[in-house]
Symmetry: C2
Subunit: 178 residues, 2 copies
């Protein structure tokens, strides 16, 4: 993705943080991560991240999903003798359609990006509104999508190591070299 395009997305994401009442430092604004996951389809599949802290004991970040944007299906396995990441998502703004392993939700509200259904296996849907949260166990497949107003989500978790994430979609590269 071109730097100019990234800058536009950062500006847009920043507006969502403001709507959620979240104040960021100048450095956090600059370091905002635009994760397109190597799919080059950011409007539909991707996420914006601000890492507050990620040390050997815990991690906290904020995430923005643009309207109807999906963070694609993945899990956090045990790796290198380290326990897989457990994480708590807390909706701060908008609406989040979280999908995890479990009984398929009939008449679910959210669906994977059209054409990419083959990369999505789990369909137990949990809807999070501002003030709602949900904790996802390690190694559990999950994906999540914003409603039409977008969403701001806080994540509290054990340490985060993106490189060990396993995505269902084999085209995805979590750690971009761009």
């Amino acid at each position: 993705m071109k730097e100019e395009e990234k800058e536009k997305i950062r500006t847009k994401a920043f507006e969502y943080f403001q709507r959620a009442g979240i104040v960021l430092s100048l450095k956090e604004k600059e370091d905002m991560e635009i994760a397109d996951l190597g799919l080059n389809d950011f409007e539909r599949t991707g996420i914006v991240l601000v890492i507050y802290v990620n040390n050997s004991r815990y991690c906290a970040k904020e995430m923005v999903l643009l309207p109807n944007q999906t963070c694609p299906e993945h899990r956090h396995p045990d790796h290198d003798g380290i326990e897989g990441k457990r994480e708590t998502f807390r909706c701060r703004y908008g609406k989040v359609y979280l999908h995890i392993e479990g009984e398929k939700t009939e008449n679910s509200k959210a669906h994977p990006p059209a054409g990419d259904e083959k990369y999505y296996y789990v369909y137990h849907e949990i809807i999070l509104l501002p003030g709602d949260q949900y904790t996802i166990k390690k190694n559990t497949l999950h994906w999540f999508k914003a409603g039409s107003e977008g969403a701001v989500i806080s994540e509290f978790s054990s340490p985060s190591d993106d490189a060990s994430d396993i995505f269902t979609d084999p085209r995805i590269r979590r750690v971009s070299n761009d």
Copy 2:
């Protein structure tokens, strides 16, 4: 503290959460912890807490300090074979005067509650405004005080076990039986 008084404080704290743009669930509002630490001096010394999540791997909470209120000096030691708590304070609203071990700050802005100076040993002052954060190592003495507008602080940390906290003031009982 009487339940009526606690309810008044909850209402006031809730106003601060609203100013910080933080949305709480109904249960979180009801479960809001009014910690007077057994001192019966809440306006000057105490804190309001909302625990989002506290499991075996990480913890996240929100805290409110009323104007000029102090959370008194304490540390989180190793205990029962468990490593002492590491924690990151992030200011969301107002101003926080955090004091930790280290070189004494000349002309510091905040002071311990008058008359209680003998229970305060550390005077390295760090000022946190909205968007600022600071990580405190385990077993490090610290205390923190709000400015005249009060403060809302997010805490991200390793697991929290209040019973193992060690306060400098021997009158303090962290886990109240009230």
